[in-house]
């Protein structure tokens, strides 16, 4: 077994008197695609902000690779962990879209030719070529979100954290974005996806962690997690529609927890034959 890329041990954190995390333990291996789900206020963003050093544990420990995050600066962590904010405007500040995407690359001291190449690739990947020379600030929300993502993805960090990346994006952009994350994963990157979009969690993440009131309620393969309708309900979550459909049909036909339309159809045909 590889050394974990992220490790959290009995992590506690509070905003003033309000506890946000109350004893979270978690180990993530390189190359995993893990979804972190849970109600608003369950601690998802607070947890992932410990991986890029924006927050430091009040109690417990967090390691990125071999190193405790308290011994690393935010700049050092940024080389290991790329974080895409929920709100793109928290990270957009350059005069043109191309400059915006190149900004992080320059900060990491990539050689100039590599900055140009990587920025170019990211522009293409996210369909931003037409906007390359325009000021990002005046573009629509969906576009600004793509720009923020493109900037972080261009860095190809070993760990990529996507915090609600698909809100405000249309289906195609959301699929493209997560498809890109899946490709990075296939190259060995680790992906953490914080999301309310259960259809896409089901389609992309192999492992799913449910947080509730600052604790890990469930951690397991996505299919098993979504098979447990009662527990999801307890966490105020709903599985994807095809999973719900399979569960609703359970008195008459038992399907092996389908997570996508194709899986549902294949299972249904097989079991009803």
């Amino acid at each position: 077994m590889n050394a974990p890329v992220l490790r959290v041990e009995n992590l506690h954190f509070a905003y003033g008197d309000v506890p946000a995390l109350s004893g979270v333990s978690l180990t993530i291996q390189p190359g995993e695609f893990v979804a972190i789900v849970g109600q608003n206020g369950s601690g998802k963003t607070t947890l992932v902000k410990h991986f890029n050093g924006l927050l430091k544990p009040a109690r417990g420990r967090v390691w990125v690779g071999e190193r405790d995050t308290t011994s690393l600066s935010v700049a050092e962590l940024a080389r290991e962990v790329g974080y895409v904010f929920q709100n793109p405007d928290h990270q957009i500040n350059q005069a043109t879209v191309r400059e915006e995407i190149a900004f992080g690359l320059r900060n990491m001291d990539f050689p100039p030719d590599k900055v140009i190449r990587r920025a170019d690739e990211a522009l293409t990947m996210f369909g931003l070529r037409a906007y390359a020379d325009r000021p990002p600030a005046i573009l629509g929300f969906g576009l600004r979100r793509k720009i923020a993502l493109a900037g972080v993805c261009a860095l190809r960090p070993p760990v990529l954290i996507l915090d609600e990346p698909t809100g405000g994006l249309d289906a195609r952009s959301a699929e493209e974005l997560l498809g890109f994350a899946a490709r990075l994963r296939a190259e060995g990157h680790t992906i953490l996806l914080v999301s309310h979009d259960m259809r896409r969690v089901a389609a992309f993440a192999g492992r799913c962690v449910i947080l509730k009131e600052g604790r890990v309620l469930r951690d397991g393969p996505t299919r098993e997690v979504f098979a447990d309708a009662d527990q999801l309900k307890h966490a105020f979550l709903v599985p994807p529609p095809v999973t719900q459909l399979a569960q609703a049909l359970a008195p008459q036909i038992v399907l092996d927890t389908p997570l996508t339309a194709d899986e549902f159809y294949a299972e249904y045909v097989k079991r009803s034959a």
Partner: protein, 315 residues
């Protein structure tokens, strides 16, 4: 008369720099929404949905400037000739970011703010606040005195909606009202909207990426692409074309993708698009239940299937 009537609406935002070209966003939109009807507006990023919403409230072009052509009539008023403030009493506009619409100390003050600014008598204001809070299910005494900033996302959006409802608008225009909410918050907001439709017959235009929820609320859908309406019809009709929606970069409800597979691969004439409908259709084709006792062979098959289909062995 239809409360919303849009005729050949063309609009371009003012150019970014002097001498630059204006960017056309709407390129001839025609739309009609009948009284009590809920129109769902779909479209990819940049298709002009938000601009259309702003035009229904007169903010486009009154507050934005730009080149405006055609007509937008809301409850008989041509937006071209009305002030935004006048239109605000006819068209309630709800945005995705609830927090940016809230600014008062308590939930009650928040909802009273609009009617107070109209200079209505105290009793009328109290009556409206009462009604609006009840309509969004935020009338429990525990909520009223609370700061709206200490509420959950779904509650905040419901308070923002109540503040709009207290103006007694004849139509509601909602621009992705649940985009920032968790599943519970989304469900709360959609429940409230369904109730407004049922009990008040409220006319609504709602932009929403979550087609699953939209499928159960909307009477009719219009799909906007590059500033034009390219598809329009009943949800069943629109969602029976998942391939066309995909082409436009949009989702269909997940069970309508299942119906499509049944049509294409098994020649079944299914056109369900909600989970309940799909369950009814599929359940009626099955023989009544197998024994509820766990089948040993099935458990094995289940495990095996899982190994084969596991998404990359993270476990």
């Amino acid at each position: 008369m239809d409360p919303i009537l849009v005729e050949d609406l063309r609009f371009a935002y003012p150019p970014l720099e002097e001498g630059g070209a204006a960017t056309p966003v709407l390129r001839g939109v025609n739309l009609r929404v009948a009284r009590g009807e809920v129109l769902g507006l779909l479209g990819p990023t940049g298709s002009g949905k938000s601009t259309l919403c702003l035009a229904l409230a007169g903010i486009v072009p009154h507050s934005t400037g730009g080149e405006f052509g055609g007509n937008v009539r809301v409850v008989g008023l041509n937006t071209k000739h009305e002030r935004v403030a006048t239109l605000a009493q006819k068209v309630g506009l709800v945005f995705q970011d609830a927090e940016s619409q809230l600014f008062n100390m308590t939930v009650e003050d928040e909802v009273a703010f609009g009617p107070e600014s109209l200079g209505l008598p105290r009793a009328t204001i109290a009556e409206r606040v009462e009604w609006a809070l009840r309509a969004v299910r935020m009338d429990a005494p525990a909520y009223r005195a609370r700061s709206p900033f200490h509420l959950s996302g779904g509650q905040k959006q419901r308070v923002a909606l109540a503040a709009i409802l207290a103006m007694r608008p004849e139509t509601l225009v909602l621009d992705e009202p649940t985009a920032e909410l968790d599943p519970l918050g989304k469900a709360e907001v959609f429940d409230v909207l369904a109730e407004l439709k049922r009990a008040q017959g409220m006319t609504m235009v709602i932009v929403e990426q979550d087609v699953e929820h939209l499928a159960t609320l909307a009477d009719r859908l219009a799909v906007l692409a590059e500033g034009r309406i390219v598809l329009e019809g009943a949800p069943r009709e629109i969602f029976a074309q998942p391939a066309r929606l995909r082409e436009l970069g949009l989702d269909a409800p997940q069970v309508s993708a299942v119906a499509e597979l049944f049509r294409e691969r098994a020649g079944k004439p299914y056109d369900f698009f909600t989970v309940d409908e799909a369950r009814e259709v599929l359940a009626s084709r099955l023989t009544p239940g197998p024994s509820p006792v766990e089948h040993p062979e099935r458990s094995e098959a289940k495990l095996k299937g899982r190994q084969e289909r596991g998404k990359g062995g993270e476990a």
